[in-house]
């Protein structure tokens, strides 16, 4: 595989505030790359610089061999952008919106008409295409928002948190669309603060926090980096003291960390199943009834927690 995108130490400052502090990464052709991080981590700023919306304060990136700072028009022809917020005209129909944005990408005539119909079908809105956007549900608007980014068949698609604030069904449809597009050969840079989305979609993941790329790799590489600890989540009855249980569990050999919250005690250990008998025994010993137990394999939440000391959604 060859690289469609190479970012070299790109940074953005607003006065004394450094929104992005020199980020370096690459995206291979045909790859889904996710930038995972909490709100305010610098994901949107990074995507804005890469999509040529504004220039980096320092550093540069190439997309398809074109510099984002020096050849912005060439870059724009090969990228598609799906912004975080809806960027559509509410008083135009879905078809009119797609037609307008298609013309902005240089399409015209019969080719434009055909492509608009294709995209409407792709996002499942053929029968609603002649209705004004303001009559659409939130999920339908999101789908048109994505469709705009696909009109000119870009080689690299930027998707900035496309599932924020929508219902689970629409979210599922969007994730499936991303996978479909990737199967057709499109590279995707996907930003999210939902760990599950990054895990499901990505070939590789970059974790960004406070404007810095703090980890980069495949899911396996990232989880292995924190020692492949498993998580054991114990749900206790409402009248039970989860804190007292957590305190008791700390004495079990091999347990690396124990926290208590919301009628839950959460412990991490290299092998959760092996620790389970001792955990149940300890709970019985102090008279706390366990309602259910979840064993979670190493995930990005744990990676982020391990790297920053904070939960991803903090």
């Amino acid at each position: 595989m060859s690289g469609i995108l190479e970012a070299h130490n790109i940074a953005k400052s607003y006065g004394d505030f450094k929104a992005v502090k020199g980020v370096t990464f690459g995206i291979e052709d045909g790859e889904i790359f996710s930038l995972l991080g909490p709100n305010g981590a610098g994901k949107t700023t990074t995507i804005s610089m890469l999509s040529t919306l504004f220039a980096p304060t320092s550093g540069d990136a190439t997309i398809g061999g074109h510099s984002v700072t020096k050849e912005s028009m060439a870059v724009r022809r090969i990228i598609g952008v799906v912004p975080q917020d809806l960027a559509l005209y509410e008083d135009l129909t879905g078809r009119e919106n797609l037609s307008f944005w298609g013309q902005m990408y240089g399409l015209g005539g019969a080719a434009l008409k055909a492509r608009v119909s294709e995209v409407l079908e792709q996002v499942g809105l053929t029968d609603k295409g002649n209705q004004r956007i303001k009559t659409y549900s939130g999920g339908m608007k999101r789908r048109v928002n994505i469709g705009v980014g696909l009109l000119h068949k870009p080689r690299l698609l930027f998707m900035d948190e496309p599932t924020v604030g929508i219902d689970p069904q629409s979210r599922r449809a969007i994730l499936d669309t991303v996978k479909d597009l990737n199967r057709q050969g499109m590279s995707v840079l996907y930003t999210t603060h939902y760990m599950e989305e990054a895990q499901e979609l990505s070939h590789r993941i970059g974790i960004i926090d406070h404007g810095e790329l703090i980890a980069l790799g495949t899911l396996q590489e990232l989880t292995r980096s924190i020692g492949e600890l498993e998580t054991l989540r114990l749900h206790v009855t409402e009248d039970a003291d989860a804190g007292r249980l957590a305190e008791a569990l700390r004495t079990i050999p091999g347990v690396t960390r124990v926290d208590a919250a919301d009628h839950q005690a959460v412990l991490t250990a290299p092998d959760a199943e092996e620790a389970l008998p001792a955990v149940v025994s300890k709970a019985n010993e102090i008279g706390i009834k366990i309602r259910s137990i979840d064993i979670e394999e190493p995930n990005l939440e744990a990676v982020f927690l391990n790297l920053t000391g904070r939960a991803l959604r903090d």
């Binding site: 504004f54 028009m73 952008v81 912004p83 917020d85 809806l86 005209y89 008083d91």
Partner: protein, 419 residues
């Protein structure tokens, strides 16, 4: 160019789908024109195309000479008969009281010795210095249009009398110097010359009806002033709204989205300008056609009207861009736009040209598209052609170019588009 037109047509479509905008762009000016037409009596006549008729005026003729009598004759002549409804009085104070009581549009007071002050021979006999006496026109501010017509009639009469006096003096002097006239006969000859100068063939104001010969009336229909006035007043709303859409594009994220397509910032700004311009042209064109159909209003030379519509739309678009570039938010554009719309309406004459404004404010009115546009449209409705309104068109085009340059500078200065 394709992208500019695409953006412009998109904005035009959005404007025409905005119900609130439609009301203010089309319904409001037509309704206000209708209302003002009713107030001025434009719709009260049965057959007159001219909206003005039977303007009440009181005449006080204290002059014992022929010129005072001639002016009274003008007001009672058949040519002006339907336009004014004169009554006579002898006391200037009583006449002024009638004006103050809003009974008449104006009082015309011809002072004693007025003829003697004009005609040299009579002047010598009476000892009145030439040009010392002046006709007083006491106007009613509550009836500005009617008062304006009366003033026009008197001004025209006086101008002709003065022209006749000067040409008579020159003629008699030349005749005496060349020995063709004896000095003793000069007075008699002068009176005869004056009689011929003010003969029955000389008419001051002619009121013609469309039905007379099927041709447009040469006099100005009051709606030909009111309709463009209202159209241009609300044109400022339209261009301000257009300017606001630029900031709305920024707020809604569509501007950022356009900037990541292969479209330059210049193309986007250009497209927005075209959008405002097209919307303005459509608005004024619809109002012209609409008022023509609804009110039987003749706008005049179609080529001149079309050229002036384009020029007015361009000038107004320049203001819309400057307002958008100056404002920081769409709300600010709304407030600023409303203020500019009203201010330009007053300064530019959208509410009539009889506002008691100081001279410098009247001069300031020249910066408004309203002033140039209304004068141009009124001129065309009076029978003017494209050539007559070329100065207006040029002024509006210069205004458009200058304001566009200012708006570009402001956009760059405030970093509206971060590139």
């Amino acid at each position: 160019m394709n992208k500019l037109l695409t953006i412009g047509l998109k904005d035009l479509t959005l404007a025409l789908r905005d119900r609130a905008a439609l009301i203010l762009m089309f319904a409001a000016p037509l309704v206000l024109t209708l209302g003002l037409g009713l107030v001025t009596g434009r719709f009260s006549g049965q057959s007159d195309n001219n909206g003005l008729r039977d303007i009440p005026v009181v005449l006080v003729n204290q002059d014992d000479g022929r010129i005072g009598a001639e002016l009274v004759n003008v007001f009672t002549s058949p040519d002006v008969g339907t336009l004014v409804k004169p009554i006579s009085d002898t006391d200037p104070a009583v006449a002024r009281k009638r004006v103050d009581d809003d009974k008449v549009a104006a009082a015309v007071i011809i002072p004693a010795g007025y003829s003697a002050s004009i005609i040299p021979a009579a002047n010598n006999a009476s000892g009145v210095p030439a040009g010392d006496k002046k006709i007083e026109i006491y106007v009613n501010p509550a009836q500005p249009v009617g008062a304006g017509v009366i003033r026009s009639i008197v001004d025209e009469f006086v101008a002709r009398v003065q022209a006749g006096r000067v040409s008579g003096l020159i003629a008699i002097t030349l005749l005496i110097e060349n020995g063709l006239l004896k000095p003793a006969d000069a007075a008699a000859y002068g009176q005869d010359f004056g009689r011929r100068q003010n003969g029955p063939a000389q008419t001051i104001i002619t009121v013609r009806r469309t039905s007379d010969a099927g041709t447009p009336p040469p006099t100005v229909d009051i709606l030909a002033v009111l309709a463009p006035g209202m159209a241009l007043l609300f044109l400022m709303y339209t261009v301000t709204r257009g300017g606001a859409t630029l900031l709305a594009e920024r707020d809604n994220g569509t501007l950022a989205r356009m900037l990541v397509t292969p479209t330059s910032a210049t193309q986007i700004i250009g497209g927005k300008v075209i959008g405002i311009f097209l919307t303005a042209v459509v608005q004024v064109a619809v109002l012209i056609v609409g008022s023509g159909l609804l009110f039987n209003l003749h706008w005049g030379d179609p080529i001149g009207v079309a050229a002036l519509v384009l020029a007015v739309a361009a000038g107004a678009t320049g203001w819309g861009m400057v307002i958008a570039a100056f404002a920081r938010t769409t709300a600010m554009v709304g407030s600023l736009g409303a203020a500019v719309m009203l201010m330009f309406g007053v300064l530019g004459g959208s509410f009539g040209d009889n506002f008691p404004l100081p001279d410098f404010l009247l001069a300031l009115g020249k910066i408004t598209p309203n002033a140039w546009g209304i004068k141009g449209f009124t001129g065309l409705a009076s029978g003017g052609v494209l050539g007559d309104v070329l100065p207006n068109i040029i002024a509006l085009c210069v205004m458009a170019v200058a304001l566009f340059a200012v708006s570009v500078w402001l956009f760059r200065r405030n970093g509206f588009i971060k590139q």
